[in-house]
Symmetry: C2
Subunit: 212 residues, 2 copies
């Protein structure tokens, strides 16, 4: 099965239109069918040994969101100390999560014990199950975008706090915590680019040939 020119263009357009979304969430539920479609996109990611090591925890409870949000605020305050001057001012103005506004929060974990005897492809590189789970996250991110749903990765959180609040079992490694919801617009550029936090690198500067 091959893809036509117009399909290729649409796919590349999607890649460039995907954003990390932390604001502008609408008060509109994500229908169960659409949510499943996005999770199914994740579930079709590649996985080492066909392990499919991921689990998805969907959070709608306001009480839980509140607990996560408090942790975010504490960690953000600590993180702000890494910056000074103009960067600190900019950091403090940035909206870095949409925990309470997004109708859905999602925690993605990797099951370190899944199919444990199946060491294919990971006896030497044992983090491959974690990497598979991140591939699933990227699939989901793109699927959310194609559905008009914004998704943001909230990494300004303490793992131990999330584990406790969500009661994650020991076998599950936290990979990411996300906010998901419909938005009225997707920005043309990453916000960290348009607000001057960082510049897009020139691709040619990060390509090398044969050996370093």
């Amino acid at each position: 099965m091959s893809f036509r020119e117009v399909e290729k263009e649409s796919f590349y357009r999607l890649l460039e239109a995907r954003r990390d979304v932390r604001s502008g969430f609408l008060d509109k539920e994500i229908p169960e069918k659409i949510l499943k479609r996005i999770l199914s996109a994740a579930h079709h990611a590649p996985s080492v040994g066909f392990l499919q090591p991921w689990d998805f925890l969907i959070i709608r409870s306001d009480e839980i969101k509140q607990k996560i949000k408090s942790n975010f605020l504490a960690v953000k305050e600590r993180e702000a100390q890494f910056f000074t001057g103009e960067m600190k001012k900019l950091y403090e103005q940035l909206k870095l999560e949409g925990i309470l506004e997004a109708p859905i929060n999602l925690c993605v974990t990797c099951d370190l014990k899944r199919d444990e005897s199946n060491q294919l492809g990971r006896s030497e590189q044992n983090q491959m199950d974690v990497y598979s789970t991140v591939c699933a996250i990227q699939n989901m991110w793109l699927a959310a975008r194609v559905e008009g749903i914004g998704m943001g990765w909230v990494s300004i959180l303490e793992e131990s706090h999330i584990r406790e609040v969500l009661k994650l079992p020991e076998s599950r490694k936290l990979i990411g915590y996300f906010c998901l919801g419909y938005v009225d617009e997707f920005k043309n550029q990453p916000e960290l680019e348009s607000k001057g936090w960082n510049k897009r690198l020139d691709l040619d500067d990060i390509i090398r040939y044969d050996t370093w």
Copy 2:
């Protein structure tokens, strides 16, 4: 910018048509323009703090491929010891890399020192730069598929050996080693599924709500 029904369908078809490709590579060069397009897809992945921590090392040298292949053979022999009986027989029959046949090998690394003062989103979860790099890999995998190019992740390799052969600097963490090339067909199912190595999990079994 929104996506039409037909574009969504095309995208979901792409996700399901992507394979980990280890065989069937054609003796046909990947034009520079197409290769850049695939790497540009990777370069449009999300990254923590807009770090873009990835580097791409394109390998065409047969001498280097040979060295990597020998390491693969040694590690595969060790890995085979994890299996017994029917699984061992199956493991030994599986083709798990296309290092020599694929016109291009690619090593993707994460620069642990890039923009070091920019700790946004990773002061607490410091592996976020690595996860960003894996998101880039998944973008690339999908872009390769849309271009009719097979891509396979070779993780049956020793990191220290790859570092040495490719002369990776200390600042660069190895994330993945890949084979890329045009193929005559993409299989309908993951090979590990069709050959009975593992089964696809039921999505509903790996979704939970609010707390574990």
